[in-house]
Symmetry: C2
């Protein structure tokens, strides 16, 4: 069946989808309510028309600027630098941060062809020079690429009078020592805190 | 963001999708190529217009009848009864079966509100009475509902001169005794074959 094969092939291109799960979803979509299929189909087809990056920070928005940049109640002396737009949501929804954001658009990964030039460092430096930030929180991922990116940010910002910090690494809350990998244990030992 | 929230809510309704995976897919769709989104969106929105059940066997088709019912090279003395349309594909793609199919549309599950009346038993009996079948292979799932359905099929077909068989149950190939559940081991012991 051409239509089914086409749908399956398209679904298979989504991240985390294999041959079987794509087929299962395709069959599910033949069984579901037609109005749901139309709604989902239209939502997918039109999402890129509705959502665009905020021209200031780079996170996604439906409006001229995002809800964080346009919110006067947020602390404009704090800037949190993240890799991807979805990281903004993760940090904002933690409830522990009330400053502004900057989305780099990825992390430095020379082997993957991502150098500093492909990320939004010029915009970052410009924002910092024109703004009134006191603390910069580097919230790149605790991976090799995230570490490299954090070092690079420290390098380009070191001459400015700013407090730089980075998210703590260690054991996840609710985790189990027995399941923690060696690197996480190493980091949580090196970064041990007074108790 | 309304558009993103709506997309996430719609994706979350798909089987196997949680809050996080729906969010991850939504963000992925904002980043992907627009033409891909349009193709996927249209494929989802239009799948029910293109595909319908075969009026003879009940499996899905884009044409008047399905590729199995309309294929003159298939053995018309063999009928394989399955629960769902996707089961037809699983059995056909095993390459070990060259007969016809009949899709029940589910399995008998009194607690779930599925009685024999909601499945295609009348069509099954009519097909068997009008056809020239010699063997009926019951390929319902090896679950309580599938077992009940198999017993019911045996009950309604017992007066006819037909060979009835059911798919073998036992250890999956490539499996490991240590990981097999008790019921599977019990079935594979009871159904042990001469070697």
């Amino acid at each position: 069946m051409e239509a089914l094969d086409e749908l399956q092939a398209l679904i298979k291109k989504l991240p985390g989808m294999g041959e079987k799960s794509a087929l299962r979803l395709s069959y599910h979509l033949i069984k579901t309510d037609e109005s749901y299929n139309k709604a989902l189909g239209n939502a997918i087809a039109s999402i890129k028309e509705k959502i665009h990056p905020c021209p200031i920070c780079g996170c996604y928005t439906e409006h001229e600027t995002c809800i964080y940049c346009s919110d006067p109640s947020r602390d404009r002396s704090l800037l949190c630098i993240v890799e991807e737009p979805q990281d903004v949501l993760s940090i904002a929804s933690s409830g522990a941060y009330n400053g502004l954001f900057h989305v780099l658009g990825g992390a430095i990964n020379p082997l993957g062809g991502v150098g500093p030039d492909s990320l939004s460092f010029p915009q970052l430096v410009k924002r910092i020079d024109e703004g009134d930030f006191k603390e910069i929180i580097i919230a790149t991922n605790p991976t090799e690429e995230g570490d490299t990116t954090a070092l690079y940010i420290r390098h380009i910002l070191q001459d400015r009078n700013l407090q730089l910090s980075r998210l703590a690494s260690g054991l996840p809350i609710g985790g189990d020592l027995g399941y923690a990998d060696k690197l996480t244990l190493l980091r949580s030992l090196r970064g041990r805190v007074r108790f």
